[in-house]
Every structure is written in structure tokens, then in C-alpha cells.
């Protein structure tokens, strides 16, 4: 197992480097010059501009610039936000917790929906429940998150007036009330993301369970006289959920996309809304850093899924 984890870690490093190459290429290919303002300013002589370019190494070959950029990123020197006037890494550290909280809770909600529904649908294939669940799953992942978010605001905030639609990071309350307010304002964003994610997972859970339920060991379990409940919960579901772990990891990029939209709708102060506001404010260092953080998170979750997979299915670790 330790050897397996080490190997997974070593596989994660090239993909992280590959992602950084893609990001840097995009940045390097982009038209526009950081010293454009100086170029149009007649008070700055061309020699000064050239000297500045040389000082910041903009005329170096692209390989040299990439190595300099990646080593700065690795050392935690992520630049300085033009708008917020603080270091980019501090800014992201302030914000990343909320994003992880929302994404994590919505994943749990998605699993709480998808596993029971998928398992029940698979144990009664082509039944009425299966057909309804399948249709609702299609509706669920065809509803874009931005539209569900607006619908929820319209129904629960405006018409029913049950839930607040603006997320506040600092709530003026203490004790239980503080927790209650936090839960109240997090319900809608988490539900929007979780329902979308759950709807796309239901069909995977269903087909994973259907794959397992035909296997001989399940028949053996039934032949031993075990109750249907025990057979399904202890024998079928445990094995069927192994491929689902990989699917969740594969969907991580899409989940982050949904999180950006949700944060934007409900004004959650996470890194997704930070990305949008810095794009609108032309704050390039923050944009680059947030994109890189999202990429790192995707690789991290893939790594966690791989390790979980190896733990759940010990056959994997021996390959």
C-alpha cells in the first residue's frame, strides 16, 4: 500500500507539471503587453521600456520564463493583487475554505441522493420507480446550475421568503443562532450543486449496481439464506460503489465549474467568485493563481480518489 501511494504521487507530479505548461502557454501566447501603458505614454523613452523588459526578463526565451514562473509558484510567491492590494496567496487562503465547504457538503448531499435512488432503481430495473428516477435524473442534469440557482432564489427567497439569497461571511450572532444562520444561508447553494451532481450520479450508481447484482457471489449470498436487505447493503452496494469513487473524481472539473456559477449567483466569498471579479477587474496575477489552484485541486482529488480506490479494492495495489 505505501508503495502504491508513492506511485500515485509520482504520477500526479507529471500531470501537475503538464497543467502548468498548458496554463503558461496560454498566458505566453496571449496578445497584449504588460508594459503597453508605458509604450503609449510619450513621457517614457523607449530605452527605459527596454530596460524594464530586460529587468523583468520578458525578452528571455520562453523556456527560461517558464522555469522562473514555475519555481516562483512552487515557492509560494504568487504575485500581488492589483485590486485587493495584498499578496495573492493570502487572498486565496482567505477564500478557499468557503469553496471547499460548499463543494464538500454538496458532494455529501449528492451521494445521499444518488446512492439510495440508484440502488433502489437497480434492484427493480424497468419498474415504475426506475423509470421515474431515470426521467428525473435527466431533468436534473439538464437544468443548468445558473437556472436552478435563480429558480431557487425566486421560489424560496422571493415568493416564500424562507431563505436569504446573499451569503454573508460575518454574521452578527453568537452560539446556536450563528450556526443556524450559517446553515440557512448555505442550504440553497449546496442544494443547487448537490442536486445537479446527484442527478448525474444516479445513473452511474444504477448501472454499477446492475453490473454487480448479476455476479455469482450475490447468488451465493442469497442461496445461503441471507435476507435481501443484507445481500444488497452488505454484499452488492459495497462493491458497486468502488467504480463510483472514480466517477466522482472524473467529474471534479465539472463540479468546480458549477461551484463558480453558484458562488457567483449567491455571492459566496469563495475562490470562484474571486476568479470572476478579478476577470472583470483585469487582475491578471489573481486570475492565473486561482486557475492554477483549481487545477491543483482537481489533481489532488484525483489522487485522493486513486488512493481510496486502492484501499477499497486491494487488487488494484498489486498491479
Amino acid at each position: 500500500m505505501p508503495y502504491y501511494i508513492l506511485r500515485r504521487l509520482l504520477i500526479a507530479i507529471p500531470s501537475l507539471l503538464g497543467i502548468s505548461v498548458v496554463l503558461f502557454t496560454v498566458l505566453a501566447l496571449a496578445p497584449g503587453d504588460p508594459f503597453e501603458e508605458l509604450a503609449t505614454n510619450p513621457a517614457v523613452p523607449p530605452e527605459v521600456r527596454m530596460a524594464l523588459r530586460a529587468k523583468f526578463g520578458l525578452d528571455d526565451p520562453i523556456m527560461v520564463r517558464y522555469v522562473r514562473w514555475i519555481s516562483a509558484m512552487a515557492q509560494g510567491d504568487w504575485g500581488y493583487s492589483f485590486v485587493s492590494r495584498i499578496n495573492v496567496d493570502d487572498l486565496i487562503l482567505q477564500r478557499v475554505g468557503v469553496t471547499l465547504f460548499v463543494i464538500g457538503s454538496s458532494q455529501i448531499l449528492a451521494l445521499l441522493i444518488a446512492i439510495p435512488v440508484g440502488v433502489i432503481a437497480a434492484t427493480r430495473p424497468y419498474s415504475l420507480f426506475d423509470q421515474i428516477a431515470n426521467t428525473l435524473a435527466f431533468v436534473g442534469f439538464s437544468l443548468p446550475t445558473f437556472f436552478t440557482g435563480l429558480l431557487f432564489i425566486l421560489i424560496f427567497s422571493i415568493w416564500l421568503d424562507w431563505l436569504p439569497f446573499v451569503y454573508q461571511a460575518d454574521i452578527q450572532a453568537t452560539g446556536w443562532r450563528w450556526y443556524w444562520e450559517h446553515i440557512r444561508q448555505a442550504i440553497m447553494p449546496i442544494a443547487v450543486l448537490g442536486l445537479f451532481q446527484g442527478a448525474s450520479l444516479v445513473r452511474y450508481v444504477r448501472s454499477a449496481v446492475l453490473d454487480v447484482i448479476r455476479l455469482d457471489y450475490v447468488t451465493t449470498a442469497r442461496a445461503k439464506g441471507l435476507g435481501e436487505r443484507v445481500v444488497i447493503v452488505k454484499h452488492v452496494v459495497r462493491n458497486a460503489l468502488i467504480p463510483v469513487v472514480t466517477l466522482i473524481a472524473l467529474q471534479m472539473p465539472a463540479i468546480f465549474g458549477g461551484a463558480i456559477v453558484t458562488e457567483q449567483i449567491f455571492r459566496i466569498p469563495g475562490i470562484g467568485s474571486l476568479l470572476i471579479s478579478s476577470i472583470l477587474a483585469n487582475d491578471t496575477p489573481v486570475i492565473m493563481a486561482v486557475t492554477f489552484v483549481f487545477a491543483c485541486l482537481v489533481v489532488l482529488f484525483n489522487l485522493i480518489a486513486d488512493i481510496l480506490y486502492g484501499w477499497l479494492d486491494p487488487r488494484i495495489t498489486f498491479r
Binding site: 500531470s15 503538464g18 497543467i19 498548458v22 496554463l23 496560454v26 498566458l27 496571449a30 496578445p31 497584449g32 430495473p125 426521467t135 435527466f138 431533468v139 442534469f141 439538464s142 437544468l143 443548468p144 445558473f146 437556472f147 435563480l150 429558480l151 432564489i153 425566486l154 422571493i158 448501472s207 446492475l210 448479476r214 472524473l250 471534479m252 472539473p253 465539472a254 468546480f256 465549474g257 463558480i260 456559477v261 457567483q264 449567483i265 476568479l275 470572476i276 476577470i279 472583470l280 486570475i287 492565473m288 486561482v290 486557475t291 483549481f294 487545477a295 485541486l297 482537481v298 489533481v299 484525483n302
Partner: protein, 313 residues
Amino acid sequence: MAGSTLASPSAEAVAQAQARAPTFSPTREAWRRFRRHRLAVISAIILALMVLAILVGPLFWRIPINHIDFAATLQGPSWNHPFGTDDLGQDLLSRMIYGGRISLAVGLAAMFVAIFVGTIIGAVAGMSRGWVGSGLMWLTDLFLSLPQLPLLLLVIYLFRDALKGTFGPEGGTFILIVIVIGGLRWMPVARLVRAQFLSLREKEFVEAARALGASKFRQVVRHILPNALGPVIVAGTIDVAAAIIAESTLSFLGLGFPPDIPTWGRLLFDAKDNLDFAPHWALFPGAAIFLTVLTINFIGDGLRDALDPRRVL
């Protein structure tokens, strides 16, 4: 799932009896199986009606998209404005017809980019037996683990102005969005095509073509590719829906098409600050996106049933 049902001896006899019935072309057989998916057929009809409305709508509904009427701002649905008006009194029906054209055009064009890139990369990876194939698959996996929406936003932020200068605001944004969405969605297609190629290239009919001296290019284009097309068509159908969602997401975040071009996502972006007194403004474009994506997804599901040769239905 039904395809893996065990065929009992009696079932085999029925199958043989059916085999003597007149045989149909693969297309007709696929159409017969597609019709069995009731929701897919209903979806195809609804989508066809929506496309028709978008294409011929401007001939009948002649209010220009930028006709400002301050006497009729933020009105709900009425006979003069079936979908209501926005804060400048512009008619939402004509704006949605216009936006629908853009959304569908973006979806189709991005799908073609994704299919084109994915098929080429998948075919090369599927035919090569050396490091080229594994290298391309590594690249595919790398692209799969890229966070798509942040990257989409980054690329559009960096390249928007340059392309606008070259191709004009509308054309430049269109080209950029299509290439970026298509360029980030080819990976599933590449994996599908490669998997199909790996099994098909060892089949007897390809071997026969090889023995007859067919060049590698001819083997691929005439023999392997047509047989690998089924899953690609299904993936392409679903890609249209995904591309429409991606474009609407960009517009909804205020980073897609310029503000004067009313795509469905852009209408939602403008409407979201007026939800409390003009909910129709958000509901109609949102429902249009939802209905389009839902019908396309159902059609994709029906096509999956219809084009899977293992199905016995």
C-alpha cells in the same frame, strides 16, 4: 442492459424465425429502435419545433431585437409581447429567437470541433502501436483533469480583445467561444474512438482489407471509421447540449458575447437583478435553455439505444 439478458434455447428459436423476415438496412433498423424510446421521439419533435421557430420566427415576428419602448418596460406576457419585455421595453420573444440562433450555432459548431479533434486524436492513438498512442492518451488524460470553466474564462479573458479586433465583436467572440469549448470537449470522443479502433482493427474484415492490400488510410476511412461512428454520434449529440450550457454559463457570468447580443445566457444575466418584479424575464430564457438541453440529452439516449449493435430489442 437488456442486451446481456441470457438467451434461453427457446429464445434462440424465436430469433431464427425472425431472421427469415425481410431484412432492413442498418439505418432503418436504427430508426425502428429509436422509435421505441418514447421520450426520445417526443424530444425530437419538440426540438424540431423549437429549431423551426428559431429559423423562421423572424419572418413572422417582426419586432426588432433592439426596439426600445419606454412605455412598456418590464411587462409580463401579453398579446403584444408574448414573453414580456425587459427593462428597456425590448420584446423578449424576438430577443430569444435571435439568441436561440446563436446558442444553437455555438452548440453545433463546438460539437463539430470536438468531434473533429477527438476523432483524429483517437484514430491516431488507436492505430499506432508505439509511444505515439500512449503519449496521446496521456495528453487526453491531462486535458480531462483540466478545470474547464476556469480555463475557459482565462482564455476568453486573455484573447478576447485581440480576436474582437480581427473579426469584429460578434464574429471574434463566436470563433473564440466555439474553438475553446470544442477544444476542451474532445477528450471523451478521443477515448471512445480509440477504444473502438483497438477492437475493430483486429477484426476479420479489417484483416481481409489489409490482405487485399488496402493502405492504412483506406483501412481507417473505409472500414474502421464507419463502424466506430455509432458511439461518436451519441457523444456528439450530448456535446451539443454541453456546449450550449457552456456558452450560456459564460454569457450568464457576463463574459460571453457582448452585451448587445441577446443570447439566452445573457438574457438571464440581465434578468437576475430584476427577479423580484419581473420573473418572466428570467423564466423564459431559462426554460428555453433547459428544454433544449433536456431534449438533446433524451435524443442522445435514444440514439444510444438505436445505434448500439448489441441491443436485441
